[in-house]
Symmetry: C2
C-alpha cells in the first residue's frame, strides 16, 4: 500500500534538541502533521495517556527497535516497529488493537527521513488494523543515539478460542513454520557497511495478525504455542521450547522452506539459516492430528504460502533440538551464544 | 526504602552486543538474576507478552527516559522510569497496575550500574504497587547510545470516581500545585558537566499514585484535570491548558511554593522556576468550591505537604497565562520555545 502523505511545509528540516523539550518546538513538531497523520479520537485528546476499554483477557507486549540501517530493502524501522509488536501480540493469541509509540531521536535526524518513517507507521497500522493511541518523543545529542530508536507497546483482547501456553505442548505435537527462513536477516546483511552484496532479497516484514486470527478461528486450542523467530532465529525459539518443556525437538532439513537466493547468500557468508533473524514468519506448535489441516489452511492465507511442517516434539533427547540433515546425518542444534548480526530489529 | 539485593556472581561485568542477540547471552543476562529480581507470575511465563485482565476503562501511557547523568542526586534513571509512567497514569485518573520495560543498552555499560538500576526499578515498583509484566532488551554499539535508555509503558483501571477531561475546565476553577517547583531540574543541573555547583538539592522523583488515588476517592469529579509538569515545566502545562480550553490562566508569584535553595540556584543560573522540569509534583484544576478542601487534604498526604492554590482559570485574556509578580506587576508567561536543560527525564 502506498500512502499519499506529502510532508507538510515546515520551517525546520532537521530534528534539534529543542524538539524534545516539551515546549513550543515539541508542540510544533507534533502539530506539524504528526498528530494529523496518526489522528484518531484517543490520540487527539493529547493527554499523558489514552483511555481504553476492555472486558476480559488482554495481551500486552513491548519491543524496542534499534535496527541499522533504518531504511533497508523491503521496509524501514517504522513499519518494522508496528509489525513487530503486532506480531508479538498475535503470538500470545491476542487481537492487536492499540499501540503506544515512543521515539528516541538523535539530534540532526532529517525531518524528511522522520516523515517517511511516520508514513510507514501509518500504513503498517492501517494494514494491521491498529491505532497509535499515545506516544512520547525524546531527543538526544548527536553521537548519543543513532538516528532513531522506536519503542512500540501493544494491547488487544485475547482471541476467545486461544489457549497458548508452553505447558500445553505434548510429545507428538508438530512444528509448523509459516514461511521461508532467514529472509529478513539476509536482506539487512546485504546493506550493512562493509558487507554489501548484490541481491534482490527484501525483508519480509509484515503483520501476521490477520493470518493468525483466521487460524485461531478455525483451530483454536489445537494451537499449543506460537512464536516469531526474530533475534536468534528458529534455533533459539526451538531451544527455548525444549528447555522450558523438558522435551526434545526433531526438525528435518529437507522440509525447511528457504528461498534459493537466501540459501545461496547464507552459503557464501557462512551463515546457518536456522540462526538468522526473521520477521514475517512464525512457528506454531500444533496438535498432531490437526497439523496437516492447519498447514494447508495456513498455505491458503496471506503470508502463509510457503508454510510447512518441519518437525515434531519428541520424548527422546530431552531439552535438545536435533536436525536430520539433507544428507542423512543428525546433529544437535544449539542455542546461539552471541550475535550473528547485531541490531537486526 | 533500601532493598538488600546483592548482585549475583556473574562471569561478565559489562554488557556486550551479544547480550542483545536473543540467544544464549541474552538468556544468561535475564536469568542471571533479572527475572528473579522482578519475578511475578506474569513475567515468569517468559512469553512475548503478558496476559492481563480488565473490565471497563483502562489508562495506557508510555514514556522513554534518556536522562543524563543516569545517576543523580536523589535517584537514578530506573526509579525515574517507573515513577514517570506511574504518575502519567495517575494523571489520567488511572490506578497503575502493570508496566512493560524496554531497555536500550549501550555496549560497555557496567553490569554493576545496570544491576543498581534494576534494584531501583524493583523498589520503585514496590512503592507504587505495580508489577513489570513484560519487557525487552536491546544492545547498541558503543557510541550509538548513551549507557541506558528506558521505555516504560503502563496500564491500570480508571478510578471509578475520575472524570478527567480538558473540556470540564470552567472559568473560576482553581489551579492547585502539589509541591515545590523546579526541584528535579535544579538537582540534575547541579551535576551536569560544566555546570556543577555545590548544593544539597535532590530530585523529588517519587510515585504520586497513592496520593492521587486518595484525592479521587474524596473529590472525584471535582477534579477537572491533572498534569505533571515535567519537561517544559509549569509554564508549558498551563499554556497548553489555556490554548486547548481557549480560557485564560492567572497565577500569583507569591503563592508559588519554592524551596529556598532551589530559588537561590535559579537566581544564580538565571532560570525561571516556571520553566524548569519537575518530577514529584502535579498540577490539578479543581472546582472552585472544593479547592480549599482539596488542597488541605493534599497537604495531609504523602508528597503533598507543600501543596498550594496558585491561581485560577479566567475568562479574561483567553489562551494566555498571566503571572502577578511579587512586586505587583503582571506579565504574560509564554510557552518556552526550546530546551532549557536537555535530557532532564
Amino acid at each position: 500500500m502506498q500512502l499519499d502523505c506529502p510532508m507538510p511545509e515546515l520551517d525546520f528540516d532537521i530534528i534539534t534538541l529543542g524538539h524534545g523539550s516539551g515546549g513550543l518546538l515539541t508542540n510544533k513538531l507534533l502539530e506539524s502533521g504528526v498528530f494529523n497523520l496518526l489522528s484518531n479520537d484517543k490520540l487527539d485528546t493529547h493527554h499523558d495517556g489514552a483511555i481504553l476499554s476492555f472486558n476480559g483477557a488482554v495481551g500486552f507486549s513491548t519491543d524496542s527497535f534499534v535496527i541499522s540501517p533504518i531504511f533497508f530493502p523491503g521496509g524501514n524501522i517504522g513499519e518494522l516497529a508496528v509489525n513487530g509488536t503486532v506480531n508479538d501480540l498475535a503470538m500470545c493469541g491476542a487481537i492487536p488493537q492499540h499501540l503506544s509509540l515512543g521515539f528516541v531521536l538523535e539530534e540532526g535526524l532529517s525531518m524528511a527521513d522522520f516523515w517517511q518513517i511516520l508514513v510507514s507507521i501509518k500504513s503498517a497500522c492501517e494494514r494491521a488494523g491498529v491505532q497509535v493511541v499515545t506516544g512520547d518523543t525524546k531527543v538526544v545529542e548527536k553521537g548519543k543515539g543513532d538516528k532513531i530508536f522506536i519503542n512500540t507497546t501493544g494491547l488487544g483482547p485475547i482471541h476467545p478460542r486461544a489457549d497458548i501456553r508452553m505447558s500445553r505442548i505434548q510429545p507428538g505435537d508438530k512444528v509448523v513454520i509459516s514461511g521461508n527462513l532467514a529472509t529478513h536477516g539476509v536482506a539487512i546483511l546485504s546493506v550493512r557497511e562493509g558487507l554489501q552484496f548484490e541481491t534482490d532479497i527484501e525483508s519480509d516484514t509484515c503483520n501476521l495478525n490477520h493470518t493468525v486470527r483466521a487460524l485461531l478461528d478455525e483451530f483454536g486450542p489445537a494451537i499449543h504455542l506460537m512464536r516469531d523467530p526474530t533475534r536468534g532465529g528458529v534455533a533459539t525459539v526451538l531451544n527455548e521450547l525444549a528447555r522450558d518443556t523438558r522435551l526434545g525437538v526433531d526438525i528435518h532439513q529437507p522440509l525447511l522452506p528457504l528461498d534459493e537466493q537466501v540459501e545461496g547468500a547464507c552459503e557464501i557468508l557462512g551463515l546457518d539459516p536456522l540462526y538468522v533473524a526473521n520477521e514475517g514468519i512464525f512457528i506454531a506448535i500444533v496438535e498432531a492430528g490437526q497439523a496437516e489441516a492447519f498447514t494447508s489452511k495456513l498455505r491458503s492465507l496471506e503470508h502463509g504460502e510457503n508454510a510447512a511442517v518441519i518437525g515434531e516434539v519428541v520424548d527422546a533427547h530431552p531439552r535438545q533440538v536435533v536436525l536430520s540433515s539433507n544428507i542423512g546425518g543428525k546433529r544437535v542444534v544449539n542455542m546461539p551464544v552471541g550475535e550473528q548480526l547485531p541490531r537486526i530489529c
